[in-house]
């Protein structure tokens, strides 16, 4: 009986806080994405020749985001029937966008105009045991291209 109460409490806490934090996080992501729109992140390898007088610097951003108890439970149920695990999709989406934003924020402090050759790297920090910590790390890195400010 006590176990059941504990489980339900954790589930409710996970659902409540998890949803709240996710909503807050998405709100801040959308705000910052629109404020950093002037620095496009591009996956091209080669710098076009017309960019020419410019300097470059490597920038990177990383973030580790944890799952919550509710998501863990839902994904456990999902793994019985299979299919799309949308509770994890939103988690990874948040992590990716946050990592790109942090990279762009670093580029913004350098007054960069573009971030070229952006690569992403995802890893799960712990996997395996059922009661172990579940979290995902995303690293985004690229080369900030800084063009000298001209009046055109």
């Amino acid at each position: 009986m006590f176990d059941l109460i504990l489980f339900l409490t954790l589930l409710a806490l996970g659902f409540g806080f998890g949803q709240y934090l996710e909503k807050q996080h998405y709100k801040s992501i959308i705000n910052r994405e629109s404020s950093l729109k002037h620095i496009p992140a591009i996956a091209t390898k080669h710098l076009p020749p017309e960019f020419m007088p410019c300097s470059t610097q490597m920038v990177c951003g990383n973030v580790v985001i944890s799952i919550d108890f509710f998501k863990k439970f839902v994904s456990g149920l999902r793994s019985i029937v299979g299919g799309r695990v949308s509770s994890y999709e939103s988690l990874i989406d948040r992590a990716r966008r946050e990592a790109i934003l942090r990279m762009k924020e670093q580029a913004a402090t350098l007054d960069a105009n573009y971030v070229f050759n952006v690569k992403m790297e995802t890893s799960s920090i712990s996997k395996g045991r059922r009661d172990s910590i579940g979290s995902v790390e995303v690293l985004a890195y690229g080369t900030a291209v800084i063009q000298p400010t001209s009046t055109n």
């Binding site: 806490l13 806080f17 300097s55 470059t56 919550d68 946050e98």
Partner: protein, 104 residues
Amino acid sequence: MILTTLESVPGKSISQHLGLVQGSTVRAKHAGRDLMAGLKNIFGGELKGYTELLHESREEAISRMVEQAQSIGANAILNIRFSTSSITQGASELFTYGTAVKLD
């Protein structure tokens, strides 16, 4: 030392190619951080301790790569890539590699 993920540095030409350089570090989490992360696993959200830990470890890997490049007389590292792998439960390896070159 110029670090870049591109294949060239704008406005400079490569005078000498010095081969691959790499840096890696293996880090374990410590128990205190693990406890906090365990709590966070109920509520969700960002694990700031881990984010910092991995960031520091990656800096360490980069500095090792830079050291190696300096010892063979390079002044730039091109086409840098990162890679992460978990070796065992609780420890992960952060690895970075690139091409060391001498620029004019």
